[in-house]
Amino acid sequence: MSAAGLSDTADAVRHLALVGNPNCGKTALFNRLTGSRQKVANYTGVTVERKEGRFVAPSGRHFRILDLPGTYSLQAKSPDEEVTRAVCLGELAGEPLPDVLVAVVSATNLRLHLRFALELRALGRPMVLVLNMMDEARRLGMRIDRERLAREFGVPVVEAVAVEKDGARALVALLDQGLPAAPAVAAPADLHAETTRLLAEAVVFDESVTHRDERIDAVLLHPVAGPLILAAVLFLMFQAVFSWAAPLMDGIKEGMAWLAGQVNAGLPEGPLRGLLADGVIAGAGSVLVFLPQILILFLFILALEESGYLPRAAFLLDRLMVGAGLSGRSFIPLLSSFACAVPGIMATRSIQHPRDRLVTILVAPLMTCSARLPVYALLIGAFVPDRPVAGLFNLQGIVMFGLYAAGIVSAVIVAMVMKRLGRRAGAGDHPLLLELPAYRMPNPRDLAIGLLERARIFVRRVGTVIMALSVLLWGLASFPGPPEGATRAAIEYSVAGMLGHALEVVFAPIGFNWQICIALVPGMAAREVAVGALATVYALSDTGDGAAEQLAGLIGAQWGLPTALSLLAWYIFAPQCISTLAVIRRETNSVRTMWLSAAYLTALAYGSAFITFHLARALT
């Protein structure tokens, strides 16, 4: 065999590549094999997610396993397919040639998946065929003659149920026996005919089993019930984000307040105490509070995705979104953008059409991300009276809803404008071709692994970028100290104070005072820092609730209503988020697109804040 360098000694690391169609349960199998020993990154130079993990077989053999992107063919029409093909052939720079291709097929969808497996077999590499989701297939009354299939297909075949604890045992045992030989079968001329032949040879279908999915789809895709159910699901999701998260957020706030109290009590008055209590705990802590909301939102998105419902939502909304210059496929990225535009923009990778993808990327920052929530909450709390409307609603709640709606409406308008501009440039063909996968019960283990990954990313961000900024802002706002006999507040003499006064020239027409200008600067790295920054600027050393309440009272007394409304209007567009701009640059591989989005968002923010400010001043 050509891979002789990797003789069957137990200490050699074997490279496996998991390959298969979308919805074949490949990622669940990957999670089953590797647990949380995973590394997620991008392939060099392309925005295709690279997931690598490792595991040790009972004999002590070490395996490294790549979870390649799910694709329908090796025709290299999309970046995903190009990467899959190049990795399987060992042609991608920096990736070793896999010792074994692990072709994963869903036993419930053999007609489609076996065709791709035949394409893989034609590569002539050592290969194993995994019949995944065998439990489902049995439930559907299918009987698969595994040995016969292995004989006819020409490679070893194992069964698997990736969502069960021992579901991958047969695969591990097979790999542990040593490397399989490369298939010695000539590539068939017609892959579909060969698939049909294999199915006739090795699979018996029970036609009497009625399809459960058919009954579910009859309801969920129903022209009337379908959209209503979708609206209810989305309503429940946002309700959960705001109500379920509250107790957890209070807990984190209390923890932060306690920590600040400990610091204040345990350290002598001085710069160190100020740095820890006002810089680190107040700054980073005020952002950490949003972890529960982000996790609940992602729990919903992951569960909906796993269950197979999200593509149905895309189906229901496709026509409406096409009207707005988007695509049904844009729904999933835009939904994620309510948590944070960064994963939302990364999720646009599933949109094949380049123009649809670009428009989705450009409007994703208009979805109200969770980082804008603290800013909205602060301003609404300070300026909008808490009074019932029509006996059922609450004025504050209505304003909050209005801000979310304003984001969505402006996204629709922006997308429509871009559609007009795009048509002039020639829009071209516009396929949807969306697979509606079989419904599945979301697997708690896979949900947990996905959430853990999200939590890790968020906490890392708080611990690095946001923490550093909080400390930096504290430093800028504290030094240089006021001169002898200073009459004004200490901060006015600091670097931050001078910066704020300089920026005030630009922002005075939209009603922002110098304190707001200072807060906008660190808000560029993370929008939510603006609240903590305002608190620091207003020289409050308290954290959590206390700070927010006092701050609300202070700005309620010092700012006019026009200024507050203007800041809210500014934050609907809130162009200042460096992470979002960085991910736009990375995903579009274009600095121009990044500047375009920054420029149009800033223009909209400034324009709408200007109009809001002057209208409000004229009316009050």
Partner: protein
């Protein structure tokens, strides 16, 4: 009309006869819940990436296709079942899938 695409005269005539034939109809006209046999995938251009992708997804002559649902707005997209798999297609994609009129059943 010769000369316009002299390279593909055979293709042109084949396509014209297919789309005009009373024995064939387009998937977009297949009613809800009805099923039929796929007769051909007609490319709209040469090469047609969409037609190629349809074939990779299992839309091949001889397969049975069934309309599962239609979108709530403008009766688009169309959800169809081919083999064990369901796909959502827009009208433009469905137009490429020609079905055998004689095989339509269960409307």
């Amino acid at each position: 009309m010769p000369g316009v695409s002299g390279l593909l005269p055979d293709f042109e005539t084949r396509m014209a006869s297919m789309t005009r034939s009373p024995l064939l109809m387009s998937l977009r006209d297949l009613p809800q819940r009805a099923s039929a046999r796929i007769a051909a995938i007609v490319p709209h251009a040469m090469p047609d990436a969409v037609a190629q992708r349809l074939e990779e997804l299992g839309f091949v002559p001889g397969e049975t296709i069934r309309v599962v649902a239609r979108g709530p707005f403008g009766r688009e997209p169309i959800a169809v079942q081919v083999g064990f798999t369901r796909f959502a297609l827009r009208r433009a994609e469905a137009e490429r899938v020609m079905i055998d009129s004689a095989s339509v059943s269960g409307a």
